[in-house]
């Protein structure tokens, strides 16, 4: 309980609670040495939307891969080496000129970690979680993604197991681009569905 006694900066109540949890779980043998550092390093530098961007770029460039991706998202994403927690039951939903898909978690913050990393702050906030279901067209417009009235919006609420990834439309004029160049066009927000490319 007194680990923080030599810290020069004041420790907030929540920091104290996390320190207490760490001490308790370590004492119970649940935290291997180096585990916290390894998980942090992974989610800060290895796991993020650049993984999803590679999936999207591959689907744009390879019709066979796209077919597999839409049929079995988890398996096709694993082909590129991505998988793990929050990615065991992936469903990829494809945008078209007629249909726009967007993902949300109304109850908490479910999100496809292996392909998008951890969710942005706004995704976890009550306004997004409530309004994306109630008034998606208005909210998308406010977020800089106005859609023509004839475009149908499909909102995918993450259930207990399924995690969704939006496959954005390939921008025109990109026919000669390499896979890496294509991946560079793909934004996190386009794979959540709050932006179009």
């Amino acid at each position: 309980m007194s680990e923080g006694a030599h810290h020069p900066a004041p420790v907030s109540p929540v920091e104290q609670r996390v320190a207490a949890l760490e001490a308790l779980l370590t004492e119970r043998g649940l935290v291997p040495g180096g585990f916290i550092e390894e998980i942090t390093r992974r989610y800060e530098s290895q796991i993020g939307p650049m993984n999803g961007a590679k999936v999207v770029a591959r689907a744009w460039a390879d019709p066979g891969y796209k077919q597999r991706l839409l049929a079995d998202g988890t398996a096709a994403i694993a082909e590129l080496g991505f998988g793990g927690p929050e990615g065991d039951h992936m469903v990829v939903v494809e945008n078209s000129t007629a249909v726009h898909n967007v993902i949300v978690c109304t109850l908490c913050s479910c999100y496809p970690w292996p392909t998008l990393g951890l969710p942005p702050a706004w995704y976890k906030d009550p306004p997004y979680r409530a309004r994306m279901v109630r008034e998606p067209r208005a909210l998308l417009a406010e977020m800089g993604c106005p859609l023509p009235g004839e475009v149908q919006i499909r909102v995918w609420d993450s259930s207990a197991e399924v995690r969704y990834l939006v496959l954005p439309q390939r921008p025109p004029g990109t026919e000669d681009m390499t896979g890496a160049e294509l991946a560079g066009l793909v934004t996190r927000d386009s794979m959540i569905g709050v932006a179009r490319l």
Partner: protein, 116 residues
Amino acid sequence: MSRPLSLSDLDLPRRNGELAFDAPWQSTVFALTAAVVDFAFGGDREPFRQQLIKAIAAEPGRPYWESWTAALEALVQTLPERRTTHALTKRDRKCHGLGVPDPPSSSRPGISSITR
């Protein structure tokens, strides 16, 4: 067909978004949760998810990572004492695919069958 991509082809994830964590305690509580899910619940995230849903519903305006902390505290309260004594089997370690070293070879044989 596109050529295979490598990590170096692209910038780090933060280019496309924001930092994963705003403070060290947030990454710590995230990793502690991963440890509990992996080593005490065999990789099943649903019990934690249910606690997180409850914590967010209880105080919708509370900062997200504080709700997360409350959820982990509640989850830890549900842990039977005896389950944690079988933590850190080789099988459990694979849940996150981590290269964490195995426990000393002197640890009890047959331990993985206990946690199966």
